[in-house]
């Protein structure tokens, strides 16, 4: 597998698994590595991977410490650790403190990205309660990445995408089907 050049980070919470299924429905292999940070009990992380794997040709697995994300790969952040990427593009799960009362929090993943690590960075905030992803999306925007929020009207809980939108740092506010179309541009 080729080392990836595009990184897509998706933050999702309550109602997220069904939205993710819509986004990844029949998703072909993309020239990108995707990290999904879903707030979910630990016992369902593998179930989420199984469901996503049934949707897409990309390889789906739970992120492990020391993994180097690859093209056409989806890594799901495990519950109980903050999923960060160090400067060697290696997954770091050493921090286990809660942020926004959750672990993993997508803010931690997004804020761990440093400038010039990738050709393209995409940050996406889906349904959920609270403000996880708000600082992260501003950071991705500052790094000249692409920022997307789920249209709050299509979110079971709108506050997470709305909070990201309210920063003024979101380029695209899209329904899940349109987020899928946006990701297909990385084929």
């Amino acid at each position: 597998m080729q080392t990836f050049k595009t990184l897509i980070i998706i933050g999702s919470s309550t109602g997220g698994p069904q939205i993710l299924r819509t986004i990844f429905h029949s998703m072909p292999k993309l020239r990108a590595s995707i990290i999904i940070v879903q707030h979910i009990p630990a016992s369902f992380t593998h179930s989420l991977c199984t469901h996503l794997q049934a949707c897409t040709d990309m390889t789906v697995s739970v992120a492990k410490a020391g993994d180097t994300p690859q093209d056409s790969q989806i890594l799901v952040a495990p519950t109980g650790a903050q999923c960060m990427i160090n400067e060697n593009k290696i997954i770091d799960l050493s921090v286990t403190t809660r942020v926004h009362a959750v672990c993993p929090a997508v803010d931690c993943t997004m804020l761990s990205i440093r400038e010039n690590m990738y050709q393209q960075i995409v940050g996406i905030i889906l349904t959920g309660m609270g403000h996880d992803g708000t600082k992260g999306i501003q950071h991705i925007h500052a790094l000249k990445g692409i920022t997307i929020a789920q249209d709050p009207q299509t979110a079971p809980i709108a506050t997470m995408p709305q909070s990201a939108i309210d920063t003024g740092a979101v380029h695209n506010i899209l329904k899940p089907e349109k987020i899928r179309e946006k990701l297909l541009l990385f084929r």
């Binding site: 919470s13 309550t14 109602g15 698994p17 069904q18 299924r21 707030h39 979910i40 009990p41 016992s43 369902f44 179930s47 989420l48 469901h51 519950t79 926004h100 009362a101 959750v102 959920g128 309660m129 609270g130 079971p156 809980i157 709108a158 506050t159």
Partner: protein, 131 residues
């Protein structure tokens, strides 16, 4: 349709409003989804201690023990095993109490709900439980 539901799993509607309990039970029975009812968070905990496994449709606003407090009790009593919680509520925007338990809330359904929409959400959640 019943054979598509993982063995041993069922649905529990937890709501202090008898009309909602009856409406949900009829909707799910029409869909051949096995369902039981509880009229309070305490009764929900009782069913869990008795071995309930499956999807819990949990009302948010209930007297004494509300939906969020019920989730806290489930976690405190180490009963969060083989269950998925869907909140069933009249509130479009949940209150701040959700923040501390949000990772335990799989989905959030606003009342009044359409029969088809409820059944779809429940089936999707049941599908997440290991057979």
């Amino acid at each position: 349709m019943e054979d598509t539901i993982p063995a041993g799993y069922q649905v529990m509607i937890v709501d202090d409003d008898a009309h909602i309990r009856i409406a949900v039970m009829e909707t799910l029975k029409d869909e051949h989804i096995p369902v039981i009812a509880a009229e309070s968070g305490y009764e929900c905990i009782h069913h869990l201690k008795a071995g309930f496994r499956g999807v819990i449709l949990l009302d948010l606003m209930m007297p004494k023990l509300d939906g969020w407090d019920t989730i806290t009790e489930i976690i405190k009593n180490d009963l969060f095993h083989d269950i998925i919680i869907l909140m069933l509520t009249a509130r479009l925007v949940p209150d701040q109490k959700m923040i501390s338990v949000q990772e335990y809330v799989f989905d959030y359904l606003v009342k009044p709900f359409e029969q088809e929409h409820l059944a779809e959400k429940v089936r999707f959640a049941l599908d997440f439980l290991e057979p």
